[in-house]
């Protein structure tokens, strides 16, 4: 089955479906604020690397300073957000998307 087998009105119909609107709302409500958050967190790190050098150079233990820990926390947050997104998508997005898709594909096949 390819896209050409659906006329466009099928898509407009699905677009107004409540379940699709819920899918779109769930996706955007998670992905958009999270993108803003990790970009802000990353920019804070870069800005501190440029202007907060005394703070970044503070030694915490041994030769480990704030700059190193802050950098490693960027790794932790990246891994954490990636993991959280995959959990969220599997639980909240995939079932809805699969349901809508199976319904439409069942109708046309």
């Amino acid at each position: 089955m390819t896209a050409s087998q659906h006329d466009s009105s099928v898509y407009e119909e699905i677009q107004t479906d409540e379940r699709f609107q819920e899918l779109k709302r769930r996706f955007r409500a998670w992905a958009f604020p999270m993108t803003a958050a990790f970009l802000a967190w990353y920019l804070l790190y870069v800005v501190l690397s440029a202007w907060g050098r005394d703070f970044m150079g503070t030694k915490l233990f041994g030769n480990i300073n704030v700059a190193l820990i802050f950098g490693l926390l960027q790794f932790v947050s990246t891994f954490g957000i990636a993991w959280a997104y995959s959990r969220f998508a599997e639980k909240k997005l995939d079932p809805l998307a699969d349901e809508i898709r199976h319904e439409v594909e069942g109708k046309t096949e």
């Binding site: 440029a50 970044m56 990246t78 809508i100």
Partner: protein
């Protein structure tokens, strides 16, 4: 046996193995879906490894380790930008593109727009970004092989570039996406294996005491605690405000550029479903993140065990820090023979790294030429699969030949800025067009075309008039001075220009199709009508 001989043998084994895979892959490459997207039959794990193989260039392996070895902490800033960038790809781009596109970045952009102008713009941008990146890798290959194999004559370096170029052309022309993907998978496994081995040996040498290793690196560098803090290379106090803004500008281009790099975007088409695309990015993030953590140890390890002076004596940019570290740590633990073997292994891994990345770039640019410019702009979609693949193969050959020629001409030039420029163009032109296309209802042809050309042109113009091209001792043309833009990285200006141009362009045009927007929105989120995988 010298390390050069051993390196050459190991590298030839890699070449023989990957060529075998490529010819095997060519037997299963029958139609356009096979050639451009590997039949969409790779698993999420395989594609995740290939993403790592495609992304971890010599610039990130040798370059970042070198920056850390010579300038300390600042190299880590690069790694972090390169890694965090993958969240943009994961959350906003990968799955939606897999669901709504076919073979190239332009497929998503042209979806609800007037196809010819949008495909032309996207094709021009794809080819520009890929060629910049490719050229940087080719020039780097010549310099690197020179250092590692002891080839110093210009003819020897030129021959090396020809060799790398010919291999890359064979991978792409013969194996298409299937062959290229397997080369990247093999390379990713070798690179991770090699980097892990050296990292463990270095940590073991310091009794698994990271603080001790850092202290030794700081002492050896002669710069003390400052070596472990930001500010020795980017935005130094001597450069003043412009230097600090330049650092922010670089950070922005790194974090926003990845999700607009065409050779990365086409990787999402090689898996059967959006769920597999998600899984492949998760694997990619795991592999790339781990790799950059290893690079941190490699860089500081090289500073501690090899020392900045010895590294500088071999290469001003520090590109040989990682191989030199392999030799030093091997020697310290296993004696002379161990040092020779480890150096040879890491040098061979570095060649494999270069080959896999240049193959990915050649594939991305030739695919865009054949699919976007030839098939859809020149021929208005009236081509057979067979003809389109033939054009793709010819353009891979031509692009490869051009890259070889330019690579030889640019030998010895300082072209490292081309990688940062490729990221800046991708972030300024491609990313706004992609995000608006996927998420903004009122986006249209005028918006897409203005975003791409606006971002591309502003990034290029600002770099031409920046200190990397003229007006400084390290510039491409050190003798001339026509620089008026103070930053080396244009991102902080060109990225807003790209987003703004797309916004204004779209608002000035009345074109809008509710039907087509419904189609891309529903398809991208649900996977209805998505391109299926093929199996032979």
């Amino acid at each position: 046996m010298s390390h050069q001989t051993l390196s050459t043998i190991l590298f030839l084994l890699f070449v023989a193995g990957t060529l075998g895979i490529t010819f095997w892959a060519s037997r299963n490459t029958k139609d356009a879906t096979d050639y451009y997207a590997g039949g969409r039959s790779f698993s999420g794990v395989q594609n995740g490894l290939a993403i790592g193989g495609d992304y971890m260039s010599a610039a990130s392996f040798l370059g970042i380790a070198g920056i850390i070895a010579l300038s300390g902490y600042d190299g880590f800033l690069y790694s972090i930008g390169f890694l965090v960038a993958w969240l943009v790809a994961l959350l906003l781009v990968a799955e939606l593109m897999r669901n709504s596109g076919k073979f190239t970045m332009a497929d998503v952009l042209a979806f609800r727009m007037s196809p010819r102008p949008v495909r032309t713009a996207a094709g021009v941008s794809t080819i520009t970004v890929s060629i910049f990146y490719l050229l940087a890798q080719m020039v780097g290959a010549g310099a690197l092989v020179g250092l590692l194999l002891g080839v110093t004559s210009p003819t020897g370096k030129a021959l090396t570039i020809v060799g790398v170029g010919v291999l890359m052309i064979v991978y792409v022309v013969v194996g298409g996406m299937k062959g290229t993907t397997w080369v990247q998978i093999v390379k990713a496994v070798l690179l991770m294996g090699g980097a892990t081995l050296v990292t463990l040996l270095v940590l073991g040498h310091y009794g698994f005491n990271l603080s001790g290793l850092l202290g030794e690196a700081a002492t050896q560098s002669g710069k003390g605690a400052a070596f472990l803090e930001p500010g020795l290379k980017y935005g130094t106090e001597a450069q003043g405000l412009a230097g600090k803004i330049d650092l922010i500008s670089l950070g922005l281009a790194l974090v926003l550029g990845t999700a607009g790099l065409p050779h990365i975007l086409i990787r999402f088409y090689t898996v059967p479903t959006a769920k597999e695309a998600r899984k492949s990015v998760l694997w990619g993030i795991g592999i790339i993140g781990t790799f950059y953590l290893l690079t941190l140890v490699l860089g500081f390890g090289a500073a501690a065990l090899v020392g900045g002076k010895a590294i500088l004596a071999q290469d001003k940019a520090g590109n040989t820090a990682a191989p030199m570290l392999a030799e030093a740590v091997g020697k310290a633990i296993f004696g002379d023979v161990g040092g020779t073997i480890l150096l040879a292994v890491i040098a061979a891994v570095a060649f494999a790294t270069i080959l896999a990345v240049v193959a990915g770039l050649t594939l991305a640019s030739s695919s865009s030429f054949a699919h976007d410019l030839y098939a859809h702009v020149f021929k208005r979609g009236n081509v057979t699969d067979k003809e389109e693949i033939l054009v793709a193969r010819i353009s891979a050959f031509v692009i490869g030949a051009v890259a070889i020629g330019l690579g030889i001409l640019a030998q010895g030039q300082n072209v490292a800025f081309l990688v940062a420029l490729a990221f800046a163009v991708a972030a300024s032109g491609n990313l706004p067009a992609i995000l608006y296309s996927l998420f903004w209802k009122k986006f249209n042809t005028a918006g897409a075309v203005s975003a791409i050309y606006g971002g591309l042109a502003s990034a290029l113009i600002l770099v031409i008039f920046s200190p990397v091209v003229s007006g400084s001792a390290t510039a491409l043309f050190p003798g001339a001075n026509f620089a008026w833009f103070p930053l080396s990285n244009p991102g902080i200006v060109s990225i807003p220009i790209g987003f703004l141009a797309g916004f204004i362009g779209a608002r000035l045009s009345k074109e809008y199709s509710a039907e087509k927007y419904a189609e891309i929105e529903v398809r991208s989120l649900t996977g209805i009508g998505a391109e299926k995988s093929v199996s032979h």
